[in-house]
């Protein structure tokens, strides 16, 4: 490494660097680290399997929800129409009844007047 001008004195530095950054050489450390990593992977797997179950169920759930919503909308629309129709029927029948009674009252009145006119001298 002459191009780096790494002198023998720098070897001391290099050794200190190795000392500073040295990976643990205790076998139990690596076993524990491996266990930690594999446990984290298993936990992530469990988490993602939950999501995958949800992802599998989601389309069916959405379809069912859409069907329920559609049924509710149709029922609501039908109920509103029925209510509107019965309301208009009741209004119309009420109006007809009052018109008839008015006409009846009118005819009675007119008849009386005619009779009164004919009988009058």
């Amino acid at each position: 490494m002459t191009h780096d001008h790494w002198t023998p004195a720098d070897e001391e530095l290099s050794a200190a660097l190795r000392d500073l950054y040295a990976a643990p050489d205790d076998e139990s450390y690596w076993s524990a680290l491996e266990a930690r990593i594999t446990a984290a992977v298993a936990a992530r797997d469990r988490e993602s399997s939950w999501w995958s179950v949800l992802a599998e169920v989601a389309p069916q759930g959405l379809t069912a929800a859409a069907a329920v919503l559609l049924a509710a909308t149709i029922t609501l629309a039908y109920t509103s129409r029925v209510q509107a129709r019965s309301a208009s029927v009741s209004v119309l029948s009420g109006a007809a009844a009052s018109a008839e009674s008015v006409a009846l009252a009118g005819s009675v009145g007119d008849g009386d007047l005619t009779l009164h006119h004919l009988l009058s001298p």
Partner: protein, 196 residues
């Protein structure tokens, strides 16, 4: 489910070709869903992977966290990995990215908090040694990539080519980063080095 997972002991000593073949068998088994196979891959590669993350981050604890995150990412991406490729090179790139992500996240932290965590990161009886303290401080002042190149080369013995592949930089850049890192370290440690 019976899976053909080679015993871990059979990986103790193996030539590079044999090692690659064993990696391939383990990757295939892990892709079929064997946790044992993935654990064996972790066992085989964690030391080298640690060396990479440790070179990039500033503390031993961060190196462990980056290592775990890297293996989680590797496990998640394993189905997309083509087993005919070298697993080690692929994993090292994932480790590098995990470590760089961690460095980016740490950078937003308060500098005081960071230096405090560094001083308690690796308790060691030799901490009082001036060279060690000064070196620790000087190394943290190096630009991230230069520090990574220096540690990978001088501590872990990576070649310039390997460093280039891991960090995704040309070999010449790795070489010049190493030169600049050493020059800066020398400058930062001049006072100390002049002490007889």
């Amino acid at each position: 489910m019976l899976l053909d997972v080679p015993a871990a002991s059979s990986f103790a000593v193996s030539a590079p070709d044999e090692r690659a073949a064993n990696d391939r068998a383990l990757v295939l088994a892990a892709q079929r869903g064997s946790p044992d196979a993935f654990a064996a891959l972790v066992r085989r590669h964690q030391r080298r992977a640690y060396a990479i993350t440790r070179a990039i981050v500033l503390s031993h604890e961060d190196a462990e966290d980056a290592l775990q995150e890297g293996f989680l990412n590797a496990h998640q991406a394993l189905q997309r990995f083509r087993p005919e490729q070298p697993f080690g090179a692929w994993l090292h790139r994932i480790m590098t990215n995990a470590a760089l992500d961690l460095v980016r996240r740490r950078r937003v932290r308060d500098a005081d908090e960071l230096s405090e965590s560094l001083s308690y990161a690796t308790p060691d009886p030799a901490e009082s040694l001036e060279l060690r303290d000064r070196l620790r401080d000087a190394v943290t002042r190096l630009p991230d990539r230069q520090r990574a190149v220096l540690v990978m080369h001088d501590v872990e013995g990576f070649t310039h080519g390997e460093i280039g592949r891991v960090l995704d930089i040309p070999e010449g850049t790795a070489r010049s980063d190493l030169h600049h890192a050493r020059a800066m370290l020398r400058r930062l440690l001049t006072d100390l080095r002049s002490i007889p």
